[in-house]
Symmetry: C3
Subunit: 161 residues, 3 copies
């Protein structure tokens, strides 16, 4: 793949930011973190803005697909806006995921945490939404500032999802 | 630009992930890949989740702008939700793009492929949506895992769009 | 955090791309740029596509939260589509931000510019939307191509938001 024929040093660390609160906004980051750990790559997850829902004990089991504003869902936009459609799309996607052994978000977070991945919540967002460390699933290591995030991310790749 | 006055080594490789299925979600990644190739930078495109539409033979020519949920479109949200509005916004943006020599997605993918950029589909998403390698445009090199993606991305920048 | 126990070199530069035109699409990039400058990390902001609204003199003060297509907002999707709801959600979030000393976008851009961060508009998008350099707030250094962006970003992390 490299132009000079030399093999570049492998990626040693990824720091993945999860900023969206929809099923289709959260899974890509989890899948990339899980894929990294499977290759022995250090992985840190940083939850910010609506992405905090993925680690919020009371919200993590109620996350839905974003049907409206998502032409990729192949549904007429207005139908996507009808109450219940997001639930149906979510149910369909969840069934598909089960079939391919992709766990629900809650379990997936536990699984990724067990592989040794770091999990952090963004302090500014936690304050903004009036949350506290007690609201989060136990896999979350701590609430950190953006500056602390950059320290943790040093020497690796930052992936904002 | 650098604080110590020394010029840093130029970027040699970018690995761009396209995860969204809307016109405004796909173009930024393509423009960044094309801009990289124009500067002699190695570029790899990795299509995942709804971004797979961009390389799907039957879907690539029917991609629309995400009007609802996109305040940047400057249309009242409810109007954005009316059937047909996404089509009108898409038509307007496509006409503008034509004017500035930005090709339709299908052609753009061909063009970028011809510049030697690598193109890959994400295995987990391909399975999830029940697609197969035959569904994709011929510029796609192969269907790869997240682990293989990290290998290809080594030594460069990962850009998730 | 590092597997070999050695401390990796700190991050010296971040180049943050802002591509979305909603309040929740713009703030994460600004907060990450601001957090970088606070740690003495070089920061460059690159505004593209609908993200150009954040530096557009006539638009920056009218940016709204994306309520529809954003399940993270915890509102029924259809309610999110009613005219005015985006305005109410925006008002609520803005009040919260004021409480935590997070400035409005316009002021935040001025503040970040004053810390010495570079600010650039994407040429392709500027052309596409028929804008010109005169439309932008004074903190914007210049309109640049994707190739020039890669030059500026060399030696640092690229973060696409």
């Amino acid at each position: 793949m490299s132009d000079n024929g030399e093999k570049p040093a492998p990626i040693e660390k990824v720091s993945i930011i999860i900023s969206k609160g929809s099923l289709d906004g959260i899974y890509p980051g989890l899948i990339m973190a899980n894929g990294a750990r499977a290759e022995g790559i250090e992985a840190n997850l940083f939850f910010t803005f609506f992405g905090l829902d993925a680690i919020h004990q009371k919200r993590v089991d109620h996350i839905k697909v974003a049907t409206v504003g998502n032409p990729g869902m192949h549904m007429a936009t207005l139908v996507g806006a009808l109450p219940g459609m997001s639930g149906i799309a979510t149910h369909m996607l969840e069934k598909k995921m089960e079939e391919f052994d992709i766990p629900p978000i809650h379990e997936f977070i536990e699984f990724i945490g067990d592989t040794g991945a770091g999990m952090y919540a963004c302090k500014a967002s936690v304050d903004l939404f009036g949350m506290s460390e007690d609201d989060f699933v136990e896999q979350v290591d701590s609430v950190i500032t953006v500056g602390e995030f950059y320290e943790i991310a040093a020497g690796g790749q930052i992936i904002f999802t």
